[in-house]
């Protein structure tokens, strides 16, 4: 209508252009779009590159942790030898001597000459005497029979077998000397040394600082499991209840605003702060046991709560208000509306948020430093279900950290192997989150 008042003479004639010709403006716009897409692809490519580098380096460094080098020797001990060894002052040394002789004999049979050097054998195989004595004292009827012993080689020999250690880069030390490698080579030629899958790494407990070969992550997996149990049982109900109250019932005022801001801030608080809080409150004030998965779980609960509350609130918010209206309009109370209609619809989001929060907690190390789960050497499994919570134990990331800090290079690959196990757990949890989301998602 207002157009009609404009003088048709002053109106410029519309420019005619062909649709088959792209004009400069459109070209520029298209170029900008193309550039932007290229940036995006570059960013993704860089991301994938780093992911691949990470995955390859983890797997390459970590896989040796899953194998162990064993020397298998057929060995017969007679009753006389047993009695003689038991009569000695240094009993295990006597056992070792018998075993070393057997080893040299075995190699000789295959036409390989090695010098019988007790020290060298000890560097390669560790203290064999102890193992033998234990075996024969426990099974005296095996005396006089041929027994096939599989003894794990030391971590240096392990490194030599999988290429970590070579003749060029090694230095003579009390752990291994260059001459010892001749014996190892002889063993390789004789075919009595081989690599096997190291079940002990997955099921075993941590070992002392000088025995990387015997270290396993099993006990700390159990520790992590009990911790996650505590986190799940506390943070899910508390977090969901808090978010339902804040989202559906709480009045909008300054006080609830303050709470909201604080929850968001808590999610960004460094985890070590929660660790020192846990140390002060749970251990020093409440006198809960140190290094216990219970305390670790409590600390990680504090850390996970904000994550769960934020994701739960987001998924409650995402439920269309028309569903609430429908329920309220039918005369449902607020609680009925929430529990019958809103919560089931928000469930996939809540579950995903919870699992992501748990996964985050599973990989958290810093707070565990302060409550004593890092320094602790988890030498055994907890005895029962309850003691699983209260007995000192380690956790997977704490165990990895401990191994990485140890001097013996053999622990280095154990740390990487531990990372592989941890990543497998995290991956499983994330896949579970995706499956749950797919499963429970309802469309409307």
């Amino acid at each position: 209508m207002s157009d009609a008042t404009i003088d048709p003479v002053t109106q410029p004639a519309p420019k005619r252009s062909s649709l088959h010709q792209t004009d400069a403006r459109t070209r520029k716009r298209n170029a900008a779009e193309k550039r932007f897409k290229a940036y995006g692809i570059c960013a993704i490519a860089v991301g994938i590159f780093f992911l691949v580098v990470l995955a390859v380096s983890i797997i390459r460094s970590g896989l040796p942790a899953f194998t162990q080098t064993v020397v298998s020797v057929e060995f017969t001990m007679t009753q006389d030898q047993f009695d003689a060894a038991e009569g000695e002052l240094f009993k295990t040394k006597a056992y070792s001597a018998f075993f070393n002789n057997a080893l040299v004999e075995t190699l000789k049979e295959k036409g390989l000459e090695v010098e019988s050097d007790a020290k060298a054998f000890e560097r390669i195989l560790g203290k064999t005497g102890g193992t033998l004595r234990e075996f024969y004292r426990a099974n005296p009827d095996e005396l006089g029979k041929e027994v096939d012993f599989e003894l794990s080689a030391s971590s240096r020999v392990d490194g030599y077998m999988n290429g970590r250690l070579t003749r060029d880069n090694m230095e003579d030390s009390r752990f291994l000397e260059a001459a010892d490698l001749d014996i190892v080579d002889a063993m390789i030629t004789a075919g009595i040394i081989k690599e096997t899958f190291n079940w002990n790494f997955i099921t075993g407990a941590d070992s002392g600082v000088d025995n990387p070969g015997g270290a396993g992550i099993g006990a700390s997996v159990v520790g992590s499991f009990f911790m996650m149990l505590v986190v799940l049982c506390l943070s899910l109900p508390i977090g969901v209840a808090a978010s339902i109250y804040l989202e559906e019932f709480a009045p909008q005022n300054k006080f609830t605003d303050l709470i909201e801001v604080n929850i968001s801030n808590l999610a960004a608080v460094p985890s070590i702060v929660f660790g020192i809080l846990g140390l002060a409150v749970f251990i020093q004030f409440m006198h809960l046991p140190q290094s216990a998965p219970l305390v670790g779980g409590l600390v990680l609960t504090l850390m996970t709560l904000p994550t769960i509350i934020i994701s739960t609130r987001a998924s409650l918010k995402a439920v269309p208000p028309s569903i609430r209206d429908a329920a309220l309009g039918l005369g449902a109370s607020r609680m009925q509306a929430v529990f019958h209609h809103v919560l089931p619809l928000a469930m996939p989001g809540i579950l995903t948020g919870t699992i992501i929060g748990l996964a985050q907690a599973l990989g958290e190390t810093a707070p565990l430093l302060l409550i004593g789960m890092v320094g602790f050497v988890a030498r055994g499994y907890p005895e029962g279900f309850i003691s699983g919570f209260t007995d000192p134990n380690s956790a997977m990331p704490a165990q990895i950290y401990t191994w990485a800090a140890r001097a013996d290079v053999g622990f280095y690959e154990k740390a990487w192997g531990g990372i592989i196990i941890l990543l497998i757990f995290l991956l499983t949890m994330n896949i579970l989150a995706v499956i749950l989301r797919r499963r429970f998602e309802r469309r409307w």
């Binding site: 269309p320 209206d325 429908a326 309220l328 309009g329």
Partner: protein, 265 residues
């Protein structure tokens, strides 16, 4: 549709179901409803018309206290349902909403089966003692919602899988399943095509036998077709409230006339 007979019945003397007296509604600082007094009759369809933002939906939502869910909303004045003040401190809005049902603008079935959609209200109000009772209520409600024949073979299919018109009739059936005394409808046909609209309008006329129906609508034709009483709202004021026939043929206020003839709004 069949306008003429309806206009005649509108002239019958009816009981007052809801009586609103000098109602004010504030959204924070905004004065959304100004001094509205209206008497809604039983077994009558009352239409609220008016331009967008004039407060008709807001006023409708004060009648079953759905505005309670909005924190910043305040209501003053008296609204009596059968002579009882619904904003009295002793009134539980949950009980009120069981008596005053509501159908919303957008069809909003629960993402559950058709059966569960209908059965939800009777279940939470304890209207059915057994599964058989519930089956009866569900069938009766779906028949009243004029949708039984279309869904009787798939009662356990999700309600969200129905077409828009079917969904809205499902929502109406769901609302009547709790046996309300008043049925509030907030633009129930705005998301529907003309055929579905016709079905819903037919249904509204049917419902009038048992309920007092209040309908907010943007379509003046619809108001003329289905209602016996019409209230015209403008800028938060109730401009005119009278028999539908009078509003549409001989309005007493100039603004009503302008709106009806299409000069404003």
């Amino acid at each position: 549709m069949y306008d003429a007979p309806k206009l005649e019945t509108a002239l019958d003397q009816q009981d007052i179901k809801i009586s609103a007296d000098k109602v004010q509604v504030y959204y924070g600082e905004t004065h959304a409803i100004k001094d509205v007094s209206v008497e809604i009759e039983d077994k009558t369809v009352t239409a609220f018309i008016g331009p967008s933002g004039c407060g008709k939906s807001t006023f409708l939502r004060t009648l079953n206290r759905m505005n309670d869910t909005i924190d910043i909303c305040r209501v003053q004045g008296n609204i009596l349902l059968d002579g009882e003040d619904i904003y009295h401190a002793k009134v539980d809005p949950v009980q009120l909403r069981a008596k005053v049902g509501m159908v919303f603008q957008k069809p909003n079935p629960f993402p559950k089966s058709i059966y569960d959609n209908i059965a939800y209200g009777p279940r939470i109000h304890g209207l059915a003692n057994s599964k058989a009772d519930l089956d009866v209520i569900v069938e009766k409600s779906l028949r009243r919602g004029a949708i039984w024949d279309e869904v009787k073979d798939r009662l356990h299919a999700p309600g969200t899988g129905l077409s828009g018109g079917q969904q809205q009739r499902l929502c109406i059936a769901r609302a009547v399943a709790t046996e309300p005394e008043v049925l509030l409808m907030d633009e129930p046909c705005s998301a529907l095509d003309p055929i579905a609209t016709a079905q819903v309008e037919e249904l509204i006329d049917e419902l009038r036998k048992n309920y007092s129906v209040v309908i907010v609508t943007h379509s003046m034709q619809q108001a003329a077709r289905v209602s016996q009483k019409t209230a015209f709202f403008h800028l938060g004021n109730l401009v005119e409230y009278d028999d539908t026939s009078k509003i549409f043929t001989n309005p007493s206020d100039e603004r009503t006339e302008s709106y009806i003839t299409g000069r404003i709004g």
